[in-house]
Structure formats: structure tokens, C-alpha cells
């Protein structure tokens, strides 16, 4: 007989056989190797009945993973700009540049009836919208893209899209600080109305999170979502009153603007900075309804599919 034909793994088995390291450990001899750090911490109990998760259980595991979310978001933010020499500059520079280009093109080239403080007007709208689109792009594919992690260990899958939202908040805070610093320079007075930025931010985060959570779950089943989101974002910017004041938009576009949850967000940003172009009651109600509705639906979807996503990755 000749021509060695080993079965896969033979070599490793033979190696293992030579090692005399594996005496059976007597059961019951509980040797305390080192004191556990948290003797009083309750041991988590995993109880799965069927594929879906109850909202309470999902919330509990989300709460337990809050530190993980912070770590993941921070690392993601660092990784994004790590290999770039200008690093963080890009996180802020790109939105600023984009806003400036828009402001110049629409006011100087396209001769849009320039509103007062047009640069700040555009910048404020863009700050909000870029945060939204920068999170929704990678956020909608987050669960599939994170399959490396999620096929090997459990954590609530909605952490993955949430991580994209949280990551973009870093850039958002910096851009917002620059925007507010620019306001006095560009002769835009700030006042009490600037506090509108707080509800504006809350609404922005809620709408962004809602879309990210829902689209990332759908994307696991329908991989077209990736392209649909890209196409939608392209159009979305123009049906949001970023470069034009919403005042006298006629007909069909008016209806689209009213139904767009980002209208309320962007209008609030306008109101908080340049002090005009504030949202109507209708758009605020629509924005809040969208945010609440999306979050409710997205939570329901994640409850149903949280422990099933891994099967389809």
C-alpha cells in the first residue's frame, strides 16, 4: 500500500494523541481559580420560547448592551477616519464643504430668490440632513454588514443600526458647534429660539433611528433595500426644504413636503438659527407621527426577527 491518504484532521488528531495534558478533571472539584469580579451580580438567564422576543426582553438586553453600543460607536467613528492624515477634519469638513457649494450654486448661479442669511440657512438644513443621510446609508445595511459579528455571538441586532446613528452623532455635535460658532461671524443673532435645537435634535435622532431600524431589518430579507435607500436619499434632499424656504411651494410638491418627516426637522433647524422658515403645526405633527410610528413598527419587527436574522446572513 502506498500513497498516503489521510482523512482531514488526522494530523491534528495525531498531535493531540501525543499530548499528555488531558487527564479528566474530577467533577465537583470546584477550584476557585480567582475570585470572580462580581459575586453579587445576578447571573443572566437566557430563556427562548420560539423565535420571537418579547418587547420587554428586547429592552432588557438592549439595556444590558448600552456600554457595548457606546464602545462600538466610538470605535466605528475612530476607524472611519483612522488612516486619513486629516482624520477628524473630514467628519466636519465634508458637510461644511457640501453646504457651501449648495449655498453658492443656488444663490449665485441658479439665482434662487436669496433669503436673508442664506449660507447659514443652507448650512443649518444640511447639518440636519447630512446626519440623517450619513446614518441611513450604512444604517440600512448594518445588520447584513455586521454578519461577521452577529453570526457568532448574540447581542440585540438593533445595536448595529443604532451604532450607525450614534456614530454620526459625534460628527453632528461637532458640525453643530461650528455652525453655532459661525452664526455671530455671519451676523446671525442667536437667542432663545436657538433652544429649539433640542427638540430638533430629538426629532432628528428619532426619525433617523426609526428609518435605520426598519430598513436594516427589511434589508436582511430584501437586499434591494440597499439600492432603494440610496435612490431615495438622492431624491429626498430635494423634497426637503433645505435650499429653499418652504413658504410658497405650490401644488404636489407642497403635499410631498408636508408628508416628509424631515421637513419638520429641517424647519426647526432653520427656525433655531436664522429665525424664519419655521415648521407649521401640520409638519411637526407629521414629523412626530412618523418618528413614533417608525419606532413602534421597527421595534415590533425587531422583536419578531431579532433571533432569526442570523439564519439569513
Amino acid at each position: 500500500m502506498s500513497g498516503a491518504r489521510g482523512q482531514p484532521g488526522d494530523a491534528a488528531q495525531q498531535k493531540l494523541a501525543r499530548m499528555a495534558v488531558t487527564q479528566r478533571v474530577e467533577r465537583g472539584s470546584r477550584v476557585a481559580l480567582e475570585a470572580r469580579d462580581e459575586p453579587s451580580a445576578p447571573r443572566p438567564v437566557l430563556a427562548l420560547h420560539g423565535e420571537s422576543t418579547s418587547p420587554a426582553a428586547l429592552w432588557r438586553s438592549l439595556w444590558r448592551s448600552r456600554e457595548l453600543l457606546a464602545i462600538l460607536a466610538r470605535k466605528e467613528f475612530q476607524v472611519r477616519y483612522r488612516r486619513a492624515s486629516l482624520g477628524l477634519m473630514w467628519a466636519v469638513g465634508l458637510p461644511l464643504l457640501q453646504s457651501l457649494v449648495m449655498a453658492v450654486i443656488f444663490s449665485k448661479v441658479a439665482h434662487i430668490r436669496a433669503a436673508p442669511h442664506y449660507v447659514v440657512f443652507v448650512l443649518a438644513g444640511m447639518t440636519a440632513f447630512i446626519t440623517f443621510s450619513a446614518a441611513l446609508g450604512p444604517g440600512s445595511t448594518a445588520i447584513v454588514d455586521g454578519s461577521d459579528l452577529s453570526s457568532r455571538v448574540y447581542f440585540p441586532r438593533l445595536l448595529l443600526p443604532m451604532m450607525q446613528v450614534a456614530t454620526n452623532l459625534y460628527g453632528y455635535v461637532i458640525t453643530l458647534a461650528i455652525l453655532l460658532a459661525l452664526c455671530p461671524v455671519l451676523h446671525v443673532g442667536l437667542g432663545l429660539r436657538t433652544l429649539l435645537l433640542i427638540p430638533a435634535t430629538v426629532l432628528l435622532v428619532a426619525v433617523t433611528a426609526g428609518f435605520c431600524l426598519l430598513s436594516s431589518a427589511l434589508h436582511v430579507y430584501f437586499r434591494d433595500i440597499r439600492y432603494m435607500v440610496a435612490a431615495a436619499l438622492m431624491l429626498w434632499m430635494y423634497v426637503t426644504p433645505i435650499v429653499y424656504p418652504p413658504g410658497d411651494v405650490p401644488g404636489l410638491l407642497r403635499g410631498v413636503l408636508d408628508a416628509n418627516p424631515m421637513t419638520a426637522v429641517v424647519d426647526l433647524f432653520h427656525m433655531a438659527t436664522v429665525g424664519y422658515g419655521g415648521p407649521s403645526e401640520l409638519t411637526v405633527v407629521v414629523g412626530v407621527l412618523w418618528a413614533v410610528g417608525l419606532l413602534v413598527v421597527a421595534t415590533a419587527v425587531h422583536c419578531r426577527f431579532d433571533r432569526v436574522f442570523a439564519d439569513l446572513l
Partner: protein, 418 residues
């Protein structure tokens, strides 16, 4: 002590997607064609693992072992039944516990530790131990995308075991890494078992399962077939391997099993005198005599032999690949002897005979292990008797006269008659 893992009537059904549904195409079609094939990967598993126990799960590829592990790890939920796991779980499923490729080794330790439920301070306290154990000190601040696969596994294993989980799930990852690391892994596994951690391991390395586990569950077509001490479960597994009636393709290795072409009827152990004898003396010739019936005409056969040690470790495996054994026609009885010298120390062994096609990817017949016992020389231990001869030189090594101190029975190396 309450049970660490309780599985009650656990089943997991997968939809066998022919192709992932697309919004447009499924809308255009009268009705979507997918979701028709449903497949129970696991069904009817009732099983309890006590805290501190080490349980092995064995079975053929596709028998549902890994699906069961993903459910115990909480990665996926059961379609029916319930899974209860008490305590923190650290799953080691496939290579790398889930690393972010762009992050450095150190950052990944933090991310991974957080996923496994450790706080920042707890991770910081364990950092040095993890780094030292993984042996990637020099690369700890390098992004893991530049790591070799061995470094990946080592770091993943290091984090998981240092997380001091209550339940450790090991799915076929221990066989990776070099020998030194494997030794370290097994020492660490024994250590964490001694500390009371519950371990569930899936492995195709029956020797490992036998040494580590107290109980073994044999899975067959998604159902537990036998739950027994390792020896019995492994014996049952060998039976399962011979029961197959359809062509089976192992998707990982591409190896196929094609039944109903040839059948091995008997396997006998012959002593030096050519008579049946299951007790053999070390160093003497012996043979494995195989008698097979050919069911369908075959152009050529490859016959093979595998010798296993008592703990299931493969000692030797060889075949006539590359040589012509000869054709056989349907109904014909073919027999052959595989002769060799029993260069083995004292112990019980088993011989496994098989018949393959010359493509070396298709097994036609397989016979469960046949045991034999070797009476070896009393000074020999280990896995093989290489029959070393000890030759003493007079003075330094170039001294002219030498004395044979320990002549072995079949010494090949005669003392140099200078």
C-alpha cells in the same frame, strides 16, 4: 446545583431558499416560488446539562450540531420548544469570536469583552492575561486584518476563556492553531472546567471528545439519537456511519459516500501464522483480511485501511490510491489482506476498512472498527513502537567498537561494523 442548560422539545426549521426573494420579481410572479421547502435542522431535543458538566455533541455533517449550538448561544431562536441557559454564555463558533477587521487586537479585546458581557474595568484587569495567553503581544496594536488566521483564533479563544463565562460553547475550533497553542488550550479548558464552568463542545475529533467530556450526545438528522458516556456514544456513531442508504455529499470537504455499489462483509484480524487472532504480539507481522461483495460493476477500486488507537485517535491511514487494484463485476466477492508489522505498544486498537472509487472523493463501503489487542514490549509507551536500537560507542562517537545495548526484535538499523 441547578441545570445550566435546559432544552425542552427544541426544534429549528429553516426555509430552504432556492433564491432570495426580490421585491420586483416576486411581485411579477403569480406567487413567490420560495418558502416551499422547509427543513427541520433540529427537532425534538430534550436535554439538560448540569452546571459544571462537560458535554460533547457528535454526529455527521448536517446532523444539526451547529444549529443546536447557535440556539444555546442565543444567536438564533428555536422554532418550537424552549431553550433556557443560566449564566453568561461565551460562544466560540467558527474562527474569531467576531472581530472588527479595522480595529487593533487590543481594541477588539474591549469590543469582544463587552459583547461577552464584561465591563471596561473587568476587561482592563484581564487584558494582560488575555494578551499573554494569545501570544500576539507584538501585534496587539496592529489592526486584526493583518493577523494570520492562527493569531485570529488564538486571540478569540483567549478572550472567550478569560471572560470567565458560566457556559462555554466550543464549536469545532480547538483543532486550529499550532501544537503549542493546542496544548495551552486544553490546559486552559481543563482549568476552566475545574473552576465550575459548564462546557458544551462540538467536535469531529472523537479522541478529544472522549478525553474531555463526561457525556456525549450523538445527533442524527437533527434528533438526539444517543446520550451516553463517550465510549458508548462513539461506538453508536460508528454504527450510524454505516447505515447510510443515500449518496451523501460532505459539503465542506466535497467527499461523497455512495452506497449500494460494494459492501464489506467481514473484516478479520490475522496473526503472524495467518490464522484469525485478535491478540497480536508487537513487532510481528499481522494482517487485516477483508471480504467484500460488489453490487455494481466497477472499473477499479481503491481499498484503504485506518488504524485507530483506543481513544479514537487515528494512528495510520493508507490506501492503494495510485495503484491498480483491479475491476470487479456485480455479484463477485473480492477479498484482500492488508499486511503490516504491528509496531505498536501494548493496548487495544481497531482497524477500519473502506473501499473508495479511484477518484479518491467517493467512498463506496465502510466497515465499523474491528478491535484487536497488541501485547507490546514492556518498556514502550506512546502511540507507536519504532523499535529503536540503542548502540553504545566506546568513548566518543567516533570510537571504533560499539555495543548493542537494547536489541529490538525487528531492528532495521544494524550497528555500524567499523
Amino acid at each position: 446545583m441547578s441545570a445550566a442548560i435546559e432544552l425542552q422539545g427544541v426544534g429549528k426549521r429553516f426555509a430552504k431558499y432556492v433564491d432570495t426573494p426580490m421585491l420586483v420579481s416576486s411581485a411579477l410572479r403569480w406567487r413567490p416560488k420560495t418558502r416551499r421547502d422547509r427543513l427541520w435542522a433540529v427537532r425534538g431535543v430534550d436535554f439538560t446539562v448540569e452546571a459544571g458538566e462537560c458535554v460533547g455533541v457528535i454526529g455527521r455533517n448536517g446532523s444539526g450540531k451547529s444549529t443546536l449550538m447557535t440556539m444555546i448561544a442565543g444567536i438564533t431562536g428555536p422554532t418550537e420548544g424552549s431553550v433556557t441557559v443560566r449564566g453568561r454564555v461565551a460562544p466560540l463558533i467558527a474562527v474569531g469570536v467576531g472581530f472588527h477587521r479595522e480595529l487593533t487586537g487590543r481594541e477588539n479585546i474591549y469590543v469582544n469583552g463587552a459583547i461577552l458581557g464584561l465591563g471596561r474595568r473587568q476587561i482592563r484587569r484581564r487584558l494582560d492575561a488575555i494578551v499573554a495567553f494569545s501570544g500576539v503581544e507584538d501585534f496587539i496594536d496592529t489592526p486584526v486584518k493583518f493577523y494570520s488566521s492562527g493569531m485570529f483564533v488564538r486571540l478569540g479563544f483567549a478572550v472567550a476563556v478569560h471572560a470567565e463565562p458560566d457556559v462555554l460553547i466550543v464549536d469545532e475550533v480547538l483543532a486550529v492553531g499550532d501544537l503549542a497553542f493546542q496544548v495551552k488550550c486544553f490546559e486552559k479548558m481543563n482549568e476552566i472546567r475545574a473552576s465550575g464552568t459548564t462546557v458544551v463542545m462540538v467536535s469531529h475529533h472523537l479522541g478529544v471528545v472522549r478525553r474531555m467530556c463526561e457525556r456525549v450526545m450523538l445527533m442524527e438528522r437533527g434528533r438526539p439519537r444517543v446520550v451516553a458516556p463517550p465510549e458508548q456514544a462513539i461506538a453508536a456513531f460508528h454504527e450510524v456511519l454505516t447505515e447510510v442508504t443515500d449518496t451523501v455529499v460532505d459539503e465542506v470537504s466535497g467527499l461523497r459516500y455512495e452506497p449500494n455499489v460494494a459492501r464489506i462483509e467481514t473484516v478479520e484480524i490475522l496473526g503472524p501464522d495467518g490464522q484469525r487472532n485478535s491478540h497480536v504480539e508487537s513487532g510481528l507481522p499481522m494482517a487485516v483480511r477483508v471480504r467484500a461483495t460488489v453490487v455494481q460493476d466497477v472499473e477499479d477500486l481503491v481499498v484503504g485501511l485506518t488504524l485507530l488507537a483506543g481513544d479514537g485517535t487515528t494512528l495510520y491511514s493508507d490506501s492503494t490510491a495510485g495503484f491498480r487494484f483491479g475491476a470487479a463485476s456485480a455479484g463477485e466477492t473480492v477479498s484482500w489482506d492488508m499486511q503490516f508489522r504491528a509496531q505498536l505498544p501494548t493496548g487495544s486498537y481497531s482497524a477500519v476498512a473502506r473501499v473508495d472509487r479511484p477518484d479518491l472523493r467517493t467512498t463506496l463501503a465502510y466497515h465499523p472498527p474491528v478491535s484487536f489487542f497488541v501485547t507490546g514490549r514492556h518498556t514502550v509507551t506512546g502511540v507507536a513502537d519504532l523499535e529503536a536500537v540503542v548502540v553504545r560507542h566506546d568513548g566518543d562517537v567516533d570510537g571504533s567498537v560499539s555495543t548493542v545495548v537494547d536489541p529490538s526484535p525487528g531492528a532495521l538499523l544494524a550497528p555500524d561494523p567499523r
